[in-house]
Symmetry: C3
Subunit: 389 residues, 3 copies
């Protein structure tokens, strides 16, 4: 699926002499994808919502443009690769929608001739969690799991990251995306980074960067490929949206630390994916009306199956995920307790179009000072039309 | 005028095998247009303004970037066409200007091999009114008529639309744009759609979609082409900007229904265009300080003439339009009574540049809780420099 | 350095028949550049900051995306050139970052066949000051000097500008950029313009445009090229951000007038650049808590040296600049007294990557109603990674 290749393609590119390409349109590539959603069918509880997942869940939701991406990228010299991805489904204020805002804007400087050692500058995904790294273009469930995704809003931050992977593994990372196996792209076998820590498109709010590290290796065993991984980060986070009357720590600053383990069996044809993380961070306490430093934990398991029928692809899947902790980037570091089961199928009639239908059985407690007792449960059918261009 | 072709060109494209185009720049096309305006010459009343038309009318207006468009589009497979058009003259708050915001972001899925039957997903023009469908790049008067344009701010909304047109008529729709006859593009002979109803780039605000339908047919009579059309929509609209103290219906929700008739005689060389619509919607009542459910009506007639002189094109035109009703998407569903006569010319010295000068004789009453008695009249010269790229 | 050519390349382009280019990607060009910064090393005073220069200076600053540009441009016909440059490191509100906002959106209409006489419509740089005209992609110090840059926030405004330069000089302007000599691009030998005057991306706020004129001529003397220039503008400026209790003139409106002299010796290999300007404008007076009409003055001198070593370029430089006056576009027309010495080097290991390290010795007094006594001094090391694509 050539439309889905991203950073992974750097390996073959870099081996060609970049100077031979003289025209801008040979050096710069443009592609993108979009997701149009509707979540209101078979809905049993319109107060069941998820701010981070999809703002059109529940009451007053309707047709929704979840993502609208244009990706400008290119290996512009033997040593420099760039990747700029604005999202045109972004809002500065939650009510004036569909402005263009950066997701990725990063620049990979190769430290050796094969670009096995790279420094990445700019805003990019923080290497924490396989599902976080994996593009939404490739993910089967409509939204990322709360457990690991609560670590970093929009999965990204601004900083400097070091990545290392041997050439052979870089080619394997590339293959795992280009073959349709729904890989994460190339975030290195080893990663080490320093970044602001207030998450994507936000100002740094203290004087210390966050530090992250990750180790992940795709192992070929016969025809099958598995990828175990571990990762951790630490830093200090400043809660920025606090309701009047809520107590918080000095400077609204909290320890922000997590560690996670990941396991992936790529779907040939049966796929399995599981991640789990523990840590500490800010979390609203309803009883005391205080944002406290608390522990958190969460994860998921996803099983999938790749079916090819008449040149069309089907990916039936089931995922269970849970999370118990705060969401630091939401109002009052909103407290969460989530248990969710999703059963669905992705259907790709041709490579430019994908339809996901997914039945969600959910139990979500999410509470802040404005909604102090808010334990919601219910079921709904969610539909996504994805277009790859 | 090849620079102005948009959805209309899909017909010839779709008949070629898309797979033969292997490079991204052969599959994706980029074009655009921009409008720079100045409205302050020969102005007799600086309190005569029009928020929806052009924010630089009247007091403190100056040079103004009315539209700045980039269009990314392409028939990326036999069955899928995409069209993404950000406008870089948009503002999230009315004072920080020239941010990039989506106008169109739609995806046409062909249901048959000729794409005569299509489903359109995403944000696109709601098929209501010929002048609303017609691109501003092609329209003669600087702004759309208040009568029909008051139906949908920015003419667009997010939803799913079904379009049908036979191949021969799709080619005729394409010709009406590419030939410079200022057609509407291909919004089908028959259209049926469901959309959020709060207008472009706004959140849905209730649990029911709007429904729209349209029938429009370009008929060739000798050398002349006429296009009669009818259309209607209905739904419930939630007024979102209400001044303190103003009374409104429960949940600020109102019936929003309209029906319109359209007639076009394309300018070969004499052109005639007329539309009229009636309906009901929210409207501010000054006497009671209440937003009421009221009836509305309005329309226009436009006469034009196409002159070719020394490879240059001239389109002298005159338009009269009027509107009596509310504008649901403005503060307090502002009440309007508009009568306006415009006399002007579009001059195209070469295909990339157009100059419109237009003398406007206007009478506009527009009142909300902040400006309860506001009946303005006056004349002014309006100038637009349009660049097609 | 072909990646850095902008308006300057129009001369050779325009002499080719534009009609021969039939594909969009031959007519429209895309390039860009990005700047990632870190300012916190060797910092002696975290209260030393500069809002206009770089919002990540000082306390709570971190990694920062200073500029992220995409440039769409092209000579789309013999008489029309367009240049659209959004910046994706812009914020509508200072806290939701990295939205795409226009810097340049201009359209050059040639009045003669050689385009020696041009009218420029839209938003573009106001021809006032060499360093203001010079692209940040080419400038050696990280930020522009306060003295001349305080004239126009983001260097740009919306209006109509007339430019004249003979063909030979247009080619020289082009050479001064393409050769890596860090020229300003082609803003004419003579410039005359009318523009709104409230600076880039802001609404006009009164009924009079600003007027600007400039004369600048690059003179070849043997191998060396010098460029002396003079420029001036006048208008009325409306201060828009005023703290409660601060006194201002009626309608918050002030005379806004400046005149400047510029001198450039291009670095072959030794370069010298100096500018100075005087004028009048609004300025906050701490003693009286009033925004007053006061005089202002400021300028800079920059010495540089171009070194080529093993195909790599080095530009060691030193700049001293000072400013005494208000910044009309900041809160309360904040009063400034700036003295700053910068010593640094730009290193270009290959054309797509530049690293600037710069040690800054600074004394900045900047005061408004919220910070009435605020005289800061200190030193710091500033680092910029620039990527040209």
């Amino acid at each position: 699926q050539e439309t889905k290749i991203d950073t992974a393609t750097k390996v073959p590119e870099a081996t060609k002499p970049a100077e031979a390409k003289s025209e801008w349109y040979q050096k710069i590539n443009l592609r993108g994808y979009a997701q149009v959603r509707y979540n209101r069918l078979l809905e049993t509880n319109q107060d069941l919502q998820c701010e981070q997942c999809d703002k059109s869940w529940g009451k007053n939701g309707g047709f929704f443009l979840r993502r609208l991406r244009l990706v400008f990228s290119g290996q512009i010299s033997n040593r420099l690769y760039f990747y700029i991805q604005p999202d045109f489904a972004s809002s500065p204020d939650g009510s004036n929608n569909n402005f263009g805002q950066i997701r990725d804007a990063y620049f990979d400087l190769g430290l050796d001739t094969e670009n096995e050692f790279r420094l990445r500058f700019g805003q990019s995904k923080v290497p924490y969690g396989f599902e976080n790294m994996q593009s939404s273009q490739n993910r089967l469930p409509l939204d990322r799991n709360d457990g690991l995704n609560s670590a970093i809003s929009n999965e990204r931050d601004l900083g400097v990251f070091f990545y290392w992977a041997p050439k052979k593994i870089r080619e394997r990372f590339a293959y795992l995306v280009s073959s349709g196996l729904k890989g994460s792209g190339d975030y290195g076998v080893f990663a080490l980074g320093a970044y602001n820590g207030q998450t994507a498109n936000k100002n740094e709010a203290n004087n210390q960067p966050h530090i992250v590290s990750r180790f992940s290796y795709p192992i070929q065993i016969g025809k099958q490929i598995i990828e175990p991984g571990i990762q951790a980060y630490h830093g200090k986070y400043v809660v920025s949206s606090i309701s009047t009357g809520v107590q918080a720590k000095p400077q609204n600053q909290y320890r922000d630390q997590r560690a996670a383990a990941s396991f992936v069996l790529y779907p040939q044809p049966f796929g399995l994916q599981a991640e789990y993380n523990i840590g500490t961070g800010p979390e609203y306490n309803v009883a005391t009306n205080t944002i406290e430093q608390t522990s958190l934990r969460g994860g998921y398991a996803l099983a999938s199956y790749a079916l090819k029928f008449n040149k069309q692809l089907f990916f039936p899947f089931v995922r269970y995920h849970f999370y118990d902790g705060g969401k630091k980037f939401e109002r009052d570091a909103r407290t969460y307790k989530v248990k969710e089961l999703e059963i669905g199928t992705e259907w790709q009639p041709f490579k430019n179009f994908e339809l996901v239908t997914m039945y969600t059985i959910s139990k979500r407690r999410f509470e802040d000072a404005a909604r102090p007792f808010n334990d919601q449960q219910g079921n709904l059918l969610r539909i996504q039309f994805q277009f790859n261009y």
